[in-house]
Subunit: 332 residues, 2 copies
């Protein structure tokens, strides 16, 4: 294992020190491992809290800031944060209008966020709503998940719900919008190599030099099938076929994310995006907006994922609204 770390058991704490030092617009509670906006959101803005296992950076801490999340809880590597972390984040960001929990569909995350919501409502009377993302079309159930896994659409939910919250919409409205975004997205990924969890010290799974894992999960969960390594055009086709079969993306604009899993360089992501765009053009999908880069990673896994979001004018307007986070930023 070759990694830029001090020790396997300090990676998350050390990375939080780095995030804290690098981003004056963020504030890190190192005791609770929560990343907050350094500024205070205005009264009556709905609070947005997300979180999950570490190892997927910039998700979620890199999406804290104006126009997106108010707080992100960092779990241990590939491990759900605790209900206590989520409770602390929820009570801290509440500005009187309630808090939305944005949760990727993994059993531990869902259970712990539910407990945190119950604690917050019982102890403090804060209203909490939640949205559980479940956009990965690869498999129905998975290693850590009942139902589909939540992956790339989470970035879209955080951005679009964040914009709605900045507009001053109420909790019910922001939550309904977040669920609509979640239900309008589909994703699938492919691994060329496994990532390595520092505390384990060896790759999560073995993948022969001539094979790739189609539909891999962001923790290295098994995908749909192992197939011979193929070219970018064929990979794009294998990722998009099940996505396009699952939802009609020709009836609105579409926001596309071509996401790197951590170990693949940007030049390869652009090669992949070119192939994705060709297929979408042929399929009559109108690409309204696009993102190419590392947004939801799996440590040093080589590979990528594609997420499509069927986005009507309202969603595109909210997508275009200003955002200022380390991971996504455009002008206000």
């Amino acid at each position: 294992m070759k990694k830029l770390i001090n020790a396997a058991d300090t990676v998350v704490a050390d990375a939080l020190l780095g995030i804290d030092a690098a981003h004056p617009a963020l504030r890190v509670d190192h005791e609770h491992r929560i990343i907050y906006r350094a500024d205070t959101a205005r009264p009556n803005k709905v609070g947005l809290v997300s979180g999950g296992g570490s190892g997927h950076e910039p998700l979620h801490g890199g999406f804290v800031g104006f126009g997106m999340l108010d707080a992100a809880c960092a779990g241990e590597m590939f491990t759900s944060p605790t209900p206590d972390q989520m409770f602390e984040a929820t009570t801290t960001v509440d500005r009187g209008a309630g808090v939305l929990h944005i949760i990727k569909n993994y059993t531990g995350d869902v259970m712990n966020f539910e407990m945190a919501a119950e604690m917050a409502e019982a102890d403090t009377g804060i209203l909490v709503e939640s949205v559980v993302t479940h956009d990965d079309v690869a498999v129905q159930d998975s290693l850590y998940t009942a139902g589909r896994r939540g992956v790339g659409v989470t970035v879209f939910v955080e951005k679009i719900a964040g914009a709605a919250a900045e507009q001053g919409r109420d909790l019910r409205s922001v939550a309904a919008l977040a669920r609509r975004v979640s239900d309008s997205g589909r994703s699938m990924g492919v691994a060329l190599t496994s990532g390595t969890v520092p505390a384990v010290g060896k790759p999560t799974f073995d993948l022969p030099d001539d094979q790739m894992e189609l539909g891999v999960g962001i923790h290295g969960e098994p995908g749909r099938e192992r197939v011979p390594l193929a070219g970018a055009a064929q990979i794009a086709d294998r990722l998009l076929e099940p996505i396009l079969a699952d939802l009609d993306f020709t009836r609105s604009g579409t926001i596309v994310m071509l996401n790197g899993l951590g170990g693949s360089p940007l030049i390869e992501l652009y090669v992949m995006y070119a192939e994705v765009k060709k297929i979408l053009d042929r399929a009559g999908v109108d690409v309204a907006r696009s993102l190419v880069g590392n947004y939801i990673t799996s440590l040093d896994m080589a590979g990528c994922s594609v997420t499509l979001l069927a986005a009507d004018d309202e969603l595109i307007t909210l997508w275009d609204a200003p955002v200022e986070t380390p991971g996504l930023r455009w002008g206000r």
Copy 2:
């Protein structure tokens, strides 16, 4: 070799298709392999042209846009663009105020940009100035370079000279500023693994599992020494010691870039940044601004580099000026 590509000999052309498709604010001349701003800079703005071998993305194409470059020439993988490409870019972006060439110090790049400048001046009368970056303190001469190699400070030169050009400064002033930035920056990198050039099909160099290459070049050129793999704190120390010994960074603010080389995930870059920041604090270096992420990469090489820029108030003000590129973006 496991890569998201179609074929080794189409990677650059395919990636340019992806860049073109992903970024409506850019325009790609596929024949000449030049990335331009899609909008036209206003008359009498000094034009900024850079370029170099591909494989270092987002450098340089990802830094084209308002407040930074007007055009970037993409060479073949790790290979200088041709004088013809540079000539084409230079004549296209000239708005009557002349053009600045921003060149990393590699023999082929320097020679070809010189030829392009001579062609432009002789054939069209366009005034051309140039700046050659040479910030890598690792080695004096290298595989493709006489003198020090140009690396991370190039990002700072492109940003700061770009801001000055948007302000309407003249060519001589922008060029002098660019040279001042170039002279005020120092860098050093470390590789944990070699990258793999697609057309070669195997890693550029062999590096045992328990060793790292200190002072590696962005094309895999040999560095200072091979040493046993160490923790992030020791790596940060080994990178900063020669940088801090080479230039006094305690007499002004400092802009710091912790740059990933392509195959290292963001969580590791934050771990490294935390260690860099601790050392700079102890050394009395005032970190005025910081960047953590992949800005000048070496295909899928695992590792990182650190660049420090001694930045007075003028440079920091220009650093903070609005920029809108795929690789760097903050508000206007």
